[in-house]
């Protein structure tokens, strides 16, 4: 219905392979981009700072993880630790007086190096064993951060982020922090969309599908698995730094605990493995749905529709939320991205069921 394809023809393969060859898709991207750019002007600081900003940053985190899990097929249950390394590195670098821009890159590099070290385990082990190896990374990193005062500032300590500026714009206002997060997530998303079309992306997909088959066709699994861990960890590290500076503005080890790793895996799975829009939708779902459900249940209880004890009230949304995730995995194992894709195709072939041309 909204998708009009008549007259769309290509005279070069480059345009036929463009990211969005369909005009209606381009319009959707443009509208979403415009809304995102204009958000500080029409959203209250509560919504901007407490909903939209974390959504964007966690989307970037989910995209970083889905590069590893969705494209390269390497499970990672310790991604919060990668982000923690990025967050702590950037704060310490900034405190040493390193410019913030460089601190971000430093955060990414530190996370990438340490992440790749643990990723090296992936060369020997697969599946559940890789999960164990990455879990070990989570606990080791947690332990090191808590027990090395030089990093955490002492047990139970909270490190405040120093005030910094990015490209001469001080990150004191919410809008400035919002735009930095928006820029970063846009960068990650564009990188991800394009990486799928490169030889690197295709090599990762080959390894995901069968690593020794990939080796037979000339893709070196050793090299590409390490590259996947490196790239993903780099993006995760920078995202951790952005999370620390733009959202939390102070870091404690609990912010990057094991639960967070599990949440990230949930975002990737619920959103849809290896999909960009899935990264955004998954992060939105995992982050926002519990809040919405809590408000809803509390609102209904306050309106007197039913009475619940406050103890139960804290758990009801979580129960519904758990049921939703199970439901998604049951009915649409390919995640929210697949649901979006189905809806898009429903309109793409409108008013028929299949393409007629």
């Amino acid at each position: 219905m909204f998708y009009r394809l008549a007259g769309v023809h290509h005279t070069r393969y480059e345009t036929a392979r463009a990211l969005w060859p369909v005009p209606a898709d381009r319009w959707q991207v443009a509208i979403v981009a415009l809304l995102a750019l204009a958000a500080p002007f029409f959203l209250s600081s509560l919504y901007l700072g407490s909903y939209l900003l974390p959504w964007l940053i966690w989307s970037a985190a989910a995209l970083s993880l889905t590069l590893l899990m969705g494209l390269a097929g390497q499970l990672h249950f310790g991604f919060a630790a990668v982000m923690a390394i990025g967050a702590y590195s950037s704060i310490h670098l900034a405190r040493f007086g390193v410019p913030f821009e460089l601190a971000l890159i430093g955060a990414g590099l530190t996370a990438a190096v340490i992440g790749s070290l643990f990723g090296a385990a992936a060369l020997r082990v697969k599946g559940l064993y890789l999960v164990m190896a990455t879990l070990a990374m989570q606990y080791l990193v947690d332990w090191v951060i808590i027990n090395v005062p030089a990093i955490s500032g002492g047990a139970q300590a909270t490190l405040r982020t120093p005030s910094v500026s990015f490209l001469f714009i001080p990150l004191d206002t919410l809008s400035a922090r919002y735009y930095l997060a928006l820029g970063w997530v846009a960068l990650v998303a564009i990188f991800f969309l394009n990486v799928k079309r490169t030889s690197f992306g295709r090599a990762l997909v080959a390894i995901r599908d069968k690593d020794f088959a990939a080796a037979v066709i000339g893709v070196d699994p050793f090299r590409y698995k390490l590259m996947a861990f490196f790239t993903s960890s780099f993006m995760g590290g920078v995202t951790g730094a952005v999370l620390a500076f733009c959202y939390y503005r102070a870091v404690t080890p609990e912010q990057f605990s094991f639960n967070v790793s599990i949440q990230l895996v949930a975002m990737v799975l619920v959103g849809g493995l290896g999909s960009v829009i899935g990264g955004f939708l998954g992060a939105g779902f995992v982050l926002l749905v519990p809040i919405i459900l809590t408000n809803l249940v509390a609102g209904m209880a306050a309106a007197g529709w039913f009475t619940v004890s406050s103890n139960l009230l804290a758990h009801v949304p979580l129960m519904i939320y758990g049921a939703l995730i199970i439901g998604f995995l049951l009915f649409e194992p390919l995640g929210l991205a697949k649901i979006y894709d189905n809806i898009r195709k429903y309109f793409l072939v409108w008013p028929f069921r299949h393409s007629r041309s």
Partner: protein
């Protein structure tokens, strides 16, 4: 030399109004001069569209002409052109025209013996072929007949590097032509100045419904006046986007894709292959679209099948809006204007149903959709008009460049084909035959003075169609004069008229009405496998083959209903009393229909004589073996027991 000059003077005397230098090449040169970079032609190749600008167009045509002349092609030499639509075939045709040679196009699926016939009749020595398949065919002809001595091919696949003797690549001829142009300055202008408006630009052929095809030479002037008449009537506009997917041997393609395209600077778009034509149509979304009634009907079937298997909500929407649009269109044809509420509802329908359907088909930008050739079904005509396409009919023959009469956008009717174009005179003679006169009417058949004299008696083209003018002065075409047939009791009828009305049903692909000199009329029906197969699926009728489906009782009931519906509308004595479903389709390879799918009655009468006898003997069924010819030329047989149905006498009709 003397002789040539007299001939030229004679030709000029025929059409004193034509200016000598007003020819196709001059128009091409004008376009290349005024709009060198504008896209003149597009061809889909390996999924993307290759574009040719007017400057490249002219350059290729002139270079090819220079190369072709080196091979010894000169004025009035005939050049066979065979293949699907390809830019290089158009370029080479114009290159030959530039040398005052005459391209003689043939349908790509013409069998070898017909090719040999054409080569012999027209003394052709040079051929331009699309690909290896056509080259092989021509090499076979050379073995039996000795000609063509030179074959030029376009698609190098399977040929490049191992060409047999006398087979040359289009590209190599082009290269030698380019060299020659560089060697001889001034040759380009000289070449472009050679043709004259009085030259024969192309030799087309009658479809050969009866006997051997006749050659129909059309001059530059005929085609240009036809195109200009049509443009004056608003039939074409400047700069149309046009889809060239119909065979180049058909008059319409040369007129639309070359003559009108050069005169009015069309962008001509060529699909990747015949099979992808509908897909490629959507990528281009032309502004001008011509299709035969049969193809429009197939498109309607495609939509209906698509909706029938669509999701419930979309089907519900379609059922809300499509019948409404049909009612609205019927009212509009009756001259009633829709109210505000109806217009609002129609606008909503445009957004939800009509627009998306047009987009899916690639017709969303079409402003001038046309059909011609035979009568179009009321359902089909109304449907596309209801979708918002201003579908119009026109009428013409190869002899008058297919541009004689057309419907105006504002007064459309189902039964008429409209009014003559300005500059074209049409009248009906005493026997009821349609006569046409104008600058677009040809000057006589190729080397057949008897036929020319017969056809052009008194300066009027005798079309052979029976027709009449209705009260508003619009032309109504009834059928072929030669096809008026009498039953034993002397009742007059035109079989095609009845056949076309039966073919309006999507389930009937072909039908042949039999009844000349008989007591009653009967029909041999070929069902449409696509539509009838879909219907069978929906109604739980199982089948494995065309033959089995055609003989299933349920399909017989279906066809009986269609015939019965027609009988109810016909006068007494004209109803169809018995019919038989044939277990194979009529096929041009078997000679039962022409390549343009017109029936060859003598072949059918002779081949199916046994069936016809059984029908008139009152038998209930008959064992029959049908001959079939495979594309390789081998023959086979399909045997089947066919049942024959008798219809209850319709009210007013006879039994």
């Amino acid at each position: 030399m003397q002789l040539e000059e007299t001939k030229a003077a004679d030709a000029a005397r025929l059409h004193p109004g034509w200016k000598r230098d007003d020819h196709l090449l001059a128009l091409l040169a004008r376009n290349a001069r005024e709009r060198p970079t504008e896209v003149a032609m597009r061809e889909r190749d390996h999924g993307i569209w290759q574009e040719y600008s007017w400057a490249e167009y002219l350059d290729t045509v002139v270079s090819f002409a220079a190369g072709l002349e080196e091979k010894g092609v000169g004025p009035e030499d005939l050049v066979l052109v065979i293949g699907d639509n390809r830019p290089n075939l158009y370029f080479s045709m114009l290159g030959a025209i530039c040398l005052r040679a005459i391209p003689s196009p043939a349908y790509p699926d013409t069998p070898p013996e017909e090719i040999v016939g054409q080569l012999k009749r027209e003394g052709i020595r040079v051929a331009i072929a699309e690909d290896q398949e056509q080259v092989d065919k021509l090499l076979g002809a050379r073995e039996s007949h000795g000609e063509p001595r030179l074959i030029i091919y376009d698609d190098p696949r399977g040929l490049a590097g191992k060409e047999p003797e006398g087979v040359v690549a289009f590209t190599s001829l082009l290269a030698s032509g380019r060299e020659r142009l560089q060697r001889e300055p001034g040759l380009r202008e000289a070449l472009l100045a050679r043709p004259s408006v009085h030259d024969v630009a192309i030799l087309l052929h009658s479809s050969g419904t009866t006997g051997v095809p006749k050659g129909i030479p059309l001059k530059h002037g005929h085609m240009l006046s036809g195109v200009r008449n049509a443009a004056a009537a608003g039939y074409f506009q400047q700069g149309e986007v046009h889809m060239a997917y119909l065979p180049i041997a058909w008059v319409g393609d040369f007129i639309f894709s070359v003559a009108a395209a050069l005169e009015l600077r069309f962008t001509v778009n060529i699909p990747e292959a015949q099979e992808t034509a509908l897909h490629d149509l959507r990528e281009i979304a032309p502004t001008l679209y011509f299709s035969s009634p049969r193809a429009w009907s197939a498109m309607l079937t495609r939509i209906q099948v698509g909706i029938a298997e669509s999701t419930p909500f979309k089907r519900w929407l379609y059922d809300r809006f499509m019948p409404f649009a049909l009612d609205l269109e019927r009212a509009r044809l009756d001259g009633r204007k829709p109210g505000l509420l109806d217009r609002l509802r129609h606008g909503l329908g445009e957004l939800l149903v009509y627009g998306p359907i047009k987009d899916q088909l690639g017709l969303s930008r079409v402003e001038r959709p046309y059909t011609a050739g035979e009568a179009i079904g009321e359902d089909v005509f109304l449907f596309f008009r209801a979708l918002g396409l201003n579908l119009r009919q026109f009428y013409g023959q190869t002899e008058n460049c297919a541009l004689a009469v057309a419907q105006a956008p504002e007064d459309i009717s189902l039964t008429t084909v409209g009014r003559p174009f300005p500059g074209v005179e049409v009248r009906i003679d005493d026997s009821g035959e349609i006569l046409v006169r104008g600058d677009n009417v040809f000057d006589g058949y190729f080397e057949d003075d008897a036929a020319s004299a017969k056809s052009l008696r008194g300066g009027w083209l005798h079309t052979g169609d029976a027709g009449q003018f209705d009260e508003d002065g619009q032309l109504v075409v009834l059928g072929r004069v030669s096809e008026v047939v009498h039953t034993r009791d002397g009742t007059r009828y035109i079989p095609t008229y009845l056949e076309n009305r039966l073919k309006f049903s999507q389930f009937v692909k072909d039908v042949c009405i039999v009844g000349a000199g008989r007591d009653f009329l009967s029909a041999i029906v070929c069902i449409d496998l696509h539509a009838a197969g879909q219907w069978a699926q929906e109604n739980g009728v199982s089948y494995t083959s065309y033959a089995e489906l055609s003989q299933s009782p349920a399909i017989y009931d279906l066809v009986q209903g269609i015939v019965g519906k027609l009988n109810a509308m016909l006068p007494a004595g004209l109803s169809i009393s018995r019919f038989v479903n044939l277990h194979k389709e009529f096929d041009p390879d078997d000679g039962e229909v022409t390549r343009t799918r017109k029936l060859r009655r003598d072949v059918i009468d002779q081949r199916y004589a046994k069936i016809i006898e059984a029908v008139y003997a009152g038998d209930e069924e008959i064992d029959f073996e049908a001959q079939i010819t495979y594309e390789t030329g081998q023959t086979g047989v399909i045997a089947r027991k066919l049942s024959i149905r008798t219809l209850e006498p319709a009210t007013g009709g006879r039994g």
